[in-house]
């Protein structure tokens, strides 16, 4: 089937070769995984969502709440990106090009944490109503 397709393409003008190569590559590379894999990931996403809901339901507070919420969030995001979006099977050139830039957002987060703590301090010092 694949051989025949390549054979047919050879007889066509070279203009279409590039396009044909691209589609051929994706079919041969084939994001072909057993359906069971998706069902297992689906199940895990349900379990993790239930866990993060239960964190709120039981009213956990403080660092325990925070670490659990962030842990479940990162696990869910990782499963979605790696399996559902097939990032686990892509070449590293694409993986790094897409996944590294959002990590830099953490720098922005750090800057804004300092900024908002400063703003909060100023508001408490000068604007909060005396009680």
């Amino acid at each position: 089937m694949v051989d025949a397709a390549i054979h047919l393409e050879r007889q066509q003008p070279s203009l279409h070769m590039h396009e044909a190569y691209a589609s051929e590559a994706t079919h041969a590379e084939g994001q072909q995984h057993p359906i069971k894999l998706y069902l297992v990931v689906w199940g895990w996403l349900f379990v993790l969502s239930t866990f993060s809901y239960l964190v709120d339901y039981f009213g956990l507070q403080g660092y325990l709440r925070w670490s659990l919420i962030l842990l479940f969030m990162v696990l869910k995001a990782g499963l979605i990106v790696a399996v559902f979006m097939h990032m686990a099977w892509e070449r590293l050139a694409l993986t790094y090009a897409i996944l590294l830039p959002p990590v830099l957002v953490l720098v922005f987060v750090a800057i804004m944490v300092f900024e908002s703590e400063y703003t909060h301090l100023i508001r408490v010092l000068f604007f909060a109503s005396p009680t």
């Binding site: 072909q32 993060s52 919420i69 969030m73 508001r123």
Partner: protein, 239 residues
């Protein structure tokens, strides 16, 4: 042919200046070797969208951390009375499960697309679209409930005024993404159902022949919408 030869590694030295820039960018090389341009562009679009949602969540974080007024408790704000029981955050939990389920059906639609099973692909895409529409419907219900209770972008009955503006901005933008996703899901499901990608029928817009990869590209967008919800759920509703 002369231009091509200039960029060959073993040939003459490559040209400098503006000519060099033009020659390098037109040298017909690809960074993403086995990813088609359509899929690569979808990934790059999603990257830019990531920054947009990051900015929304960051501005929400800044507003919440810097206000001296207590923040409304989301666990109570989004609670519902069901059969006489007061259940915290239940509506958001149900919305989360619906969106995750839609991601599951979408992933399977992509799989059946590559197996050229057009009926199963189209049906699973329509199920995905239906779940997405349900999600948007529940979001409309949530907005209506909050607006009836007096939440506005500039005030609310429970605490810090920025709660309303953050809520409407973040969930509104996310809901818009879901809505557009549903529209495109239905449009592509129709093409799959009709067998466009089996018969090589040309698209109306670019008049190119499509293939089943468009289902995966659509899937990338849909999973991204689910991904954003994971972060909104954690940072806005559970914090």
């Amino acid at each position: 042919m002369a231009e091509t030869a200039l960029t060959n590694p073993g040939g003459q030295p490559a040209p400098g200046g503006w000519q060099g820039i033009a020659a390098d960018w037109s040298s017909d090389q690809r960074a993403f070797k086995n990813v088609s341009w359509g899929k690569a562009m979808m990934w790059i679009f999603l990257l830019s969208d990531t920054f947009i949602f990051s900015c929304f969540l960051l501005s929400y974080m800044t507003a919440r951390m810097s206000t001296t007024v207590p923040w409304p408790n989301p666990s109570e704000v989004f609670a519902l009375e069901i059969a006489g029981h007061h259940i915290p955050l239940i509506l958001i939990a149900i919305m989360t499960f619906i969106l995750i389920s839609s991601s599951g059906t979408m992933a399977m639609a992509v799989n059946f697309g590559y197996r050229r099973d057009r009926v199963k692909t189209a049906v699973l895409m329509l199920v995905t679209a239906a779940l997405g529409a349900t999600f948007v419907g529940m979001q409309a219900f949530e907005w209506t409930k909050l607006i009836m209770e007096g939440v506005r972008p500039w005030e609310n009955p429970w605490g810090a005024a920025q709660f309303g503006s953050s809520f409407f901005m973040i969930t509104g933008f996310h809901g818009t993404h879901v809505t557009f996703g549903v529209i495109f899901l239905i449009a592509i499901a129709r093409k799959v159902w009709r067998g466009d990608f089996d018969h090589g029928r040309r698209g109306f817009f670019t008049s190119r022949k499509g293939n089943y990869e468009i289902v995966e590209t659509m899937g990338l967008y849909w999973h991204f919408v689910d991904l954003v919800w994971v972060f909104i759920f954690a940072f806005f509703y559970l914090w």
